[in-house]
Symmetry: C2
Subunit: 437 residues, 2 copies
């Protein structure tokens, strides 16, 4: 990215510009179709069919009905309508600190947002499960079986809701999926932040759950059009038929217009042509390995986690107490910006440095940003009088948690089982594991 | 428009392609900005400021805060959130047959949609006022004062809601605005269908209410980007400050991106450069005058109404009983399509032919479509054995209603007072008069 004076910035945050800012193939596809025809969705156009086919080819065959809309928020709102209609109930299980969008129905299911409201305003149909965070969450890495413990939380919510008379609930978190399905609920996978190859090893983050895991509804957004306002909901014929049976037509003026579809097609083509998913694996792994080296040097780095090119670095003042280093994270962001690097901090405590760069991010880019983080952390730690060795020692005494490279690099080495238990960032969207809350 | 075989169609329905399909200025603006930069709304860009300023210049100065979003539905949902927050209550008055969008909060306030649901599913905070339709509505042209009668309906709703303890309601229909304001409610003008000069005499349909009438919130959509997914909510500083005071940041990933703003700017420029608002006055007036001539010939035409290039022709089997001629309307649409003209039917009875062409629609285009409608109606009436004179006579006996040219042409001759009382189409969006429900 370049600012208004032509200054170059290294962009570590624009996950919307998925295949790279102003990728010529995407620009060309959009411009050509704009010149030719752009109608609303009452008109059929080949692009709509071609795009639906190409998108479906990336998904399990059961997910075969596409609804094209304009934003992740529209997608998640439609997903709720589909789920409500299919199950006949309004109960929703969502994760702590989740964010699913800005329209009013989604504020209701976004603790990241609704925690700012008074209790009276909370929707009684919305049930919040703890986020499966093994670093700072309810069940941590030293727990014998955090996956089951988090899943049981979902099970408990289901049982409690059942007692109140509501038989079915739907969207929920990863490991709880089985319980939700057993209770007749549906599983909504919110891929708005993490879809389209960002996790590297898979095209969709829900696929980290295993090849046999198929959500009932998948929502997509941000990266889908490389910045163009578009999004999509994909579901099964069963869910779509239940929705159609209401007789209420779903109409969306801009959704699925030929320009959006041309752009969507170009994005899918570029992901394959430029091997961006492979790049996410390779550069993501390199990024984590370089960050792990920094963790060995800097006591402020408490945890490194993520998949592919979606990586979080949690800063703490104390590796045992996990005191969030929010001011320090902000300082890193500001200092990096002065040095022409864009990075952001996130998480409920705003102490997680969040890497979600365009997917063409390179190893050289990793070197540039990590080197500068190294300098900034060194200065910060000098100023704060923090030293590593004593902290590291305490950490090793503190529990069963392994130190350094081991923990997170196994995450990056396509260790899917590990990856499953490491959702991380806040403000990312989640109803499901690929939450990264 | 051209189909996949290159066949030309005369387009009488694409109000989204506001300044004409693929207008070169709009395509160029979009393509150039796509090549240069397209970021999400966390980044400031001159286009955002320039566009907000240019849009604001078309509005009363009190409406000074813009929120950029991606669709009319997102805009109306945000308008609800603003209204709820500002007034502290959730009651909403909406009009019969209104349609305000497809997200779940808007289905609640869209009788056009929610009439398809069971009573149990209706939102108790939503109150439906009769649509001020003087042709087929509760108070008609033969009523001594339909405007006051419709306004009193709103007043009655407000009093009833007050008794239930809810002190404030907001969005409502035209003539009831005074009552809503007095009760501390806010007035939302939904301009998604009718804004940007379509009504001809004014840039915004709410301005038909008089120069001193200023809504609290205005929502925009469809024509704003000539097909590009974008929309806007404009409100007062009072409403915006109340919303900000919650501390909940409003963030929209795609809203206000530099490409959308570049396109929005180009659309505003073309409206002025090509005098499309003036064209809407002139061609709209000519369209109505030509349709009135058809009404003198064809008993199937019951009513002609609208403003500028938003015109409806209501077909009836009987001008006294007003029996909706839905099948005949459908037949007209199909026959026109065979002859390469696109027109649609709408209204709660699907018997209103709805003209909302791109704003570059010409007098020659009017001649082409009206001539073909003439032939089709002649054939239909021959087949049905309908004759005009007897019907016309009955109509004159039936009430005080004037016949033919007089009624609707006065509408078109910028007779705003009349125009106010003739909202018409269904499926158009409305919380306010510019409903055209």
């Amino acid at each position: 990215m370049y600012d208004e004076k032509g200054q170059r910035y290294l962009d570590c945050i624009n996950n919307v510009a998925h295949v790279g800012h102003c990728h010529p193939d995407v620009v060309k596809a959009g411009a050509q179709q704009m010149e030719q025809l752009n109608t609303n969705s009452r008109f059929l156009h080949d692009n709509l069919v071609l795009y639906a086919q190409k998108l479906q080819a990336t998904l399990p065959s059961k997910l075969s009905v596409c609804y094209f809309v304009n934003s992740g928020s529209e997608a998640n709102d439609l997903a709720l309508r589909l789920a409500w209609q299919y199950t006949g109930h309004k109960d929703i299980i969502t994760l702590e600190n989740a964010y699913h969008g800005h329209v009013s129905s989604l504020i209701d299911i976004s603790p990241y947002k609704f925690h700012q409201l008074s209790d009276a305003e909370h929707n009684p149909s919305v049930h919040v499960a703890p986020s499966p965070d093994v670093y700072r969450g309810k069940y941590r890495a030293d727990h014998p079986d955090p996956a089951t413990a988090y899943a049981d939380e979902v099970k408990n919510i289901i049982e409690k809701v059942d007692k109140k008379g509501a038989a079915i609930r739907r969207s929920t978190c990863c490991t709880g999926a089985k319980h939700v399905r057993e209770a007749g609920g549906v599983f909504i996978a919110d891929e708005v932040q993490v879809g389209f190859g960002r996790v590297g090893s898979h095209f969709w983050a829900f696929q980290l759950q295993g090849d046999d895991f198929v959500p009932d509804i998948v929502t997509m957004g941000k990266p889908i059009g490389n910045g163009h306002p578009m999004s999509c909901v994909v579901t099964t014929t069963e869910v779509a038929e239940a929705f159609m049976s209401t007789g209420m037509e779903y109409f969306n003026t801009f959704g699925g217009n030929p320009v959006s579809c041309a752009i969507g097609l170009a994005v899918l083509d570029v992901i394959v042509k430029d091997d961006l998913q492979g790049n996410a694996v390779r550069v993501g792994r390199y990024l984590v390995s370089q960050l792990e080296k920094q963790k060995e040097k800097h006591s402020l780095i408490g945890d490194i986690r993520g998949c592919g090119l979606f990586v979080g670095v949690e800063l703490v003042r104390d590796r045992v107490k996990l005191t969030p280093a929010a001011a320090e994270a902000q300082e890193v962001i500001y200092k990096l910006k002065e040095q022409h690097i864009l990075l952001s901090a996130d998480g409920p405590h705003r102490n997680v440095l969040k890497f979600k760069p365009p997917m063409c991010f390179s190893a050289e880019d990793v070197d540039e940003v990590v080197q500068k983080i190294d300098h900034i952390l060194t200065e910060l730690e000098d100023a704060l009088g923090l030293k590593l060795h004593s902290v590291s020692d305490k950490e090793n005494e503190g529990g069963k948690r392994k130190v350094g490279v081991t923990t997170a690099s196994c995450l990056m080495q396509s260790d899917e089982k590990k990856c499953k238990c490491f959702p991380t960032f806040s403000s990312a969207l989640n109803i499901i594991f690929n939450s990264f809350s």
